[in-house]
């Protein structure tokens, strides 16, 4: 099955469940309690946030979250559509209308449980999902009034309320099946598979190369956007579900997939992500002070260089910092540089504002925090001082030409437009490639030309029996929620395979 076909598919079982919820008495009562016209008059609650001039000096969270009153008021805006667009826009298929209406009803615990049916990491998705291009993009209220229900903010409110109230209630677990599942990589995809498989009664071990679980959520996304305490709580929940974590274990090096199979693991999920940073291959890129975004963010987030020398890992503070790229990773990097004391923190992006792939909220936050944006600009070389440390970069102006394969207008260099600018810190955030460790050490695993693992999108099965994959190692570089969507698909197929055996009718 192609990726698009898999994406468009809503299973009949899910459709029936959503309909049954829609027709419950309390939902009908709630719909009647306020006419649509009244609902449409309510304005969207803005997300409360810390002042830009205060927050751009520390690493505490920017957004403060809705209050209960604000959340209920926001939930009232939802029209509880018979054919909800939001649900189809959600890669993990959360029954969004049901959870939103539970918020309106004031039953926050039930709302949290409803989200958890489809999403193992709700407090994370509520913070990092690009809602504006997914659930909120497809919200019928957006089409009617121009402003969607703040689904992401509500998801965050519900899961934060749950966590602060003592954490998620463990679901009823089926008796152990005795099947052993190995999950490679504790990123968003791996954690999702682990949760789903544990809930199905399987014995799950997650193997993680780094010393903290979370993958990009822990090394990449900064504290000011996703506090570590939230991730720690989600991982603790998985441990309560019976998931075992083996940290500092590099599958492919410490042991291979074949070794693990010999140890008795029957099903595998490879969620090793896009761990290889891309560089532009321009002169001077190896000067001291030029980082990949992965290194820069890993030093600051995972290794806590922002607290140096209290923590031992250093990072350059930078006085005039340039971040190359226009995605979320670039926004995270440039806002980090600002927080570490850069007087000037610049985004250098080769296309224009409209083509930026970053979440709109992150771009707004960056602007408020004093980040300078230089569009239609690309670096052509870096210049170092006598110690091999970067001191300047040469850039070239671009203009937009015809649309390329991605549908975005292609940037074309303007001849003779080179100019020089002073920088003492450069972060290259132009994307990552799939991590080759597993493909290199797993004979028979079919890999595409960009190093991504080949899968059947209907099941996320790879070319090897019992081995499934999802997230950036398959997509080459996407989002947390798409990785989680893949993980859900894979977990369902893995569960069927374990229960029905490899010869089962629906194991592939």
């Amino acid at each position: 099955m192609s990726e698009q076909d898999a994406k468009d598919k809503i299973s009949p079982a899910l459709a029936a469940e959503v309909l049954a919820e829609f027709e419950k008495g309390w939902r009908k009562d709630l719909r009647r309690a306020m006419p649509v016209k009244e609902r449409m008059k309510i304005g969207r609650r803005p997300m409360p946030q810390r002042a830009a001039s205060e927050r751009n000096k520390d690493f505490s969270e920017v957004n403060l979250g809705l209050t209960a009153e604000e959340a209920v008021e926001e939930a009232r805006r939802c029209l509880d559509c018979a054919k909800p667009g939001c649900l189809a826009g959600c890669p993990v298929r959360i029954d969004i209308p049901s959870f939103v209406k539970l918020v309106e009803k004031g039953d926050f615990a039930a709302a949290a449980a409803k989200i958890r049916e489809a999403n193992s990491l709700p407090s994370i998705c509520g913070r990092v999902c690009p809602q504006e291009s997914q659930c909120e993009e497809s919200c019928h209220l957006k089409k009617a009034s121009g402003v969607a229900v703040a689904i992401g903010n509500l998801e965050r409110f519900v899961s934060d309320t749950e966590r602060l109230g003592g954490g998620a209630v463990l679901p009823h677990l089926p008796p152990p099946t005795g099947h052993r599942v190995a999950v490679v990589g504790a990123g968003p995809a791996g954690l999702t598979v682990a949760g789903e498989m544990a809930r199905a009664g399987h014995r799950v071990t997650v193997f993680e190369a780094l010393h903290d679980a979370g993958g990009v959520l822990v090394y990449g996304i900064p504290e000011f956007r996703l506090p570590k305490s939230i991730l720690v709580a989600e991982v603790a929940y998985l441990e309560r579900l019976g998931v075992e974590f083996r940290m500092n274990f590099i599958v492919g090096k410490t042991a291979t997939i074949d070794d693990l199979r010999a140890e008795g693991y029957e099903a595998f999920f490879i969620g090793t992500g896009a761990g290889l940073p891309n560089f532009m291959k321009v002169p001077g890129e190896n000067l001291v002070g030029v980082y990949s975004a992965n290194e820069y963010l890993t030093r600051v987030n995972l290794m806590r260089a922002y607290d140096f020398p209290n923590y031992d890992t250093p990072v350059f503070p930078g006085r005039r910092a340039a971040v190359i790229g226009g995605g979320n990773v670039a926004m995270d990097s440039v806002r980090t540089a600002k927080r570490l004391g850069a007087e000037q923190a610049l985004i250098i992006y080769r296309r224009s504002r409209t083509e930026m792939p970053a979440r709109i909220e992150e771009v707004h936050h960056a602007e408020e925090e004093g980040i300078q944006f230089h569009f239609l600009t690309t670096p052509t070389r870096y210049i170092g001082d006598e110690h091999g440390r970067v001191k300047a970069m040469e850039c070239l102006r671009m203009e937009l030409g015809e649309p390329d394969a991605s549908g975005r207008r292609r940037p074309v260099p303007v001849p003779g437009s080179e100019f020089m600018t002073e920088v003492d810190l450069v972060v290259v955030a132009i994307g990552q490639s799939p991590n080759p460790l597993i493909p290199q050490t797993t004979p028979g695993l079919s890999v595409g030309k960009w190093g991504t693992i080949d899968v059947d999108w209907a099941t996320m099965a790879t070319s090897l029996p019992g081995v499934y994959s999802g997230g950036d190692i398959v997509r080459g570089g996407a989002t947390v929620i798409l990785a989680m969507g893949d993980a859900r698909t894979a977990a369902a197929a893995m569960d069927r395979r374990l229960k029905e055996g490899p010869a089962g009718p629906s194991s592939r």
Binding site: A209, H211, K253, P277, V288, D312, T313, P314
Partner: protein, 276 residues
Amino acid sequence: MPRVVRRERLVPNIHVLEVEAPEIARRCRPGQFVIVMPDARGERIPLTIADWDRDRGTVTAVFMAVGTTTRKLSLLSAGDTLPIFAGPLGSPSEIGPVGTVLCAGGCFGIAAIHPLARAFKEAGNRVIVLIDVKADYLLYWRDKLEALADEFIVSSRDGLYGGTEYVPRHVRDVLGREKIDRVVAVGCTYFMSSVAEATRPSGVKTMVSLNPIMVDGTGMCGACRVTVDGRTKFACVDGPDFDGHLVDWAELYARRKSYFDDEVRSLCAWEEERFP
């Protein structure tokens, strides 16, 4: 968490660390390294694997106490645990029957050259081991190396072993008197670049085990990038072994010194905290 079996000072400032790590012991091969972090607030650093015991499930590394991380490691005792001891990382060294191999080790590289010399010997080569020490009292593992080498040379700048020459002179002497088919060098950057320069005129293939700054050690961050033959390589996954005649040594020196001031600051802060 991995448990320390042994931590001893071999000679001033150089320590041996043996850690319980059965999976790594089972799979590791000469030339690979581990990533080590001494405590929860520590930094991740790579250490070349110097030896292993597959039956006991232990892995041994030798390090020089220089900065905060290695000072912390130098204070470990048997029974202590390490939050991170991960590996085996990097590509194993190319070992094969090539003829006569000159294995040169300096400083912590005296230990790191040991598994390479052993493997080349086992592959049927004539193995000359050349060890460089600043002074006689800094020589360690002599017995281990002498036992497996066909010829054992110590280059020292004082006393017992005579002479005031640094290692290049000895390399040139060996190359001048017999046919050498391969040179491998492990030690500090200066040591390896000196050996590579000494062999360059003869063109004998000289492999060096590079030691740039690393963070994750799995290819994820690119901190360890080095220029080899004009192209950027990640030492952690593409190496750590490279042809010493093709390495951009000046760039490696600069990148190694990236955090010199911070390293001093870190060490001062740690000393103040630990020895007030």
